[in-house]
Amino acid sequence: MIALLRRDLALTLRSGGGFGLALAFFLILVVLIPFGVGPQSELLSRIAPGVLWVGALLACLLSLDRIFQLDFEDGSLDLLATSPLPLESLALLKALTHWLTTGLPLTVAAPFLGVFLSLPGEAVVWLVSSLALGTPALSLIGAFGAALTVGLKRGGLLISLLVLPLYVPTLIFGAECVRRGAEGLAASTPLLFVAGITAGCVAALPFATASALRVNLR
């Protein structure tokens, strides 16, 4: 399992794009928003929580179709499916790789980009913790969507459509948590909800992903 994780990580990092693309997209979005809505800092700080969360979500969406596609095309997914490793753990591993290459860097970068949007200082803790707890759910849901569309030629658009409504609860609670943090309200309830969604996704979604993969490899 560790070997597979290292292989996937190396592949994603060296193939270019995967690691930098999400971050670059996030940076572009956050930098463009002030140009679009104007530089008033009170307006920016009000929309900052939502913009940061939406940006992170879209950046995640960008690299979803790569989770299984390359392995499917060169046949290594078939080999992995016949290996002693259960397909469920493979699904979990792929989601973990995706998270390590997109969710984690986004979480680390978010507080710095928050400065551009004049995010209040007290919200930074909530931003980092909600992203750290919420982006794994995004990766897991994304892996599920990728498994559904892996056999298709033009899965890119379809995967966005499938995954979009599944992302809604995580986004609502995540952005709500940061917003409450920014306004100085108690923000731990939405944070707990985000953590709950992620825990539920970790527990249940690898099975759905694996069953979708099995159908597609049939």
Binding site: T149, G155, L161, L164, P165, P190
Partner: protein
């Protein structure tokens, strides 16, 4: 005589061809009676005026939008557990009807919202959850359309329907978190004292019955079409097989 007999396409076709006219006529009757009764023989509401009559389209379509998804969920479960093709085809047949019902509910709601709330759209919890439901329907239909092998498509859409149901429910409660509702609470329930006034209640019930029957009739028609399409493609495949292998003697059609 068990329910599972209808998993046999032949049995399903026989029964549905007998059932369909009755359901269709019942639906037409209920809708005509309910809508005419509702539109012309009920008083205007003392605050809402005549716009209250949108209720006869809005509430039944909203109900059916949710029930269609529930039906798809049950069909998907049956397909996953027992692999009856009729079930998968019925789920496929229900999806476009469900999305239409969702659209009708959203559109009539917008038309009703404009005079009453002063806006076509508000990010109210109920409205938002219907929008999310709409997106779920679109994704489900798009997945069906995108996959060529129909068994693969049935498997994948069933999994999507199961996962989607969990998340749809989650979104339904997540949007409540904003705590700002323009939409009123439930105005119809079996165990509550205070329902809509009886003048509006009875025609509304007739309309709901009409929509339920309409949904059943449309699902039956569409499922029968799907089964026939499946048969045609099977026949075509057999014909191709016969054409390519000259040794096989062509069967009498």
């Amino acid at each position: 005589m068990s329910f599972w007999e209808y998993a046999n396409p032949k049995k399903f076709m026989e029964t549905s061809s007998w059932l369909l006219p009755w359901v269709a006529i019942g639906s037409l009757l209920c809708l005509v009676v309910g809508l005419i009764w509702g539109f012309f023989f009920t008083p205007d509401d003392f605050r809402q005026g005549s716009t209250v009559k949108i209720i006869y389209l809005h509430v039944p379509s909203a109900l059916m939008a949710i029930n269609a998804w529930l039906m798809m969920l049950v069909c998907s479960l049956i397909w996953i557990v027992r692999r009856h093709h009729v079930s998968a085809l019925a789920a496929r047949a229900a999806a476009p009807i469900g999305v239409t019902m969702t659209l009708i509910a959203l559109a009539t709601g917008a038309l009703w919202g404009q005079p009453m709330w002063g806006t076509y759209w508000a990010w109210d919890p109920r409205l938002t959850s219907f929008l999310i439901l709409f997106l779920f329907y679109l994704g489900y239909i798009a997945l069906w359309e995108a996959i060529e092998n129909s068994d693969t498509a049935a498997d994948l859409t069933s999994v999507l329907c199961l996962v989607g149901s969990v998340f749809a429910l989650l979104s339904r409660y997540a949007v409540n978190f904003w705590n700002q509702g323009l939409h009123q609470g439930a105005s119809l329930s079996l165990d509550k004292e205070e329902n809509v006034a009886d003048v509006f209640y009875f025609p509304l019930l007739v309309c709901i019955a009409g929509f339920v029957l309409l949904f059943v009739a449309l699902v039956l028609i569409r499922t029968r079409t799907e089964i026939r399409a499946r048969r045609i493609s099977a026949l075509r495949a057999r014909q191709r097989l016969n054409d390519t292998s000259p040794s096989a003697t062509p069967k009498e059609a």
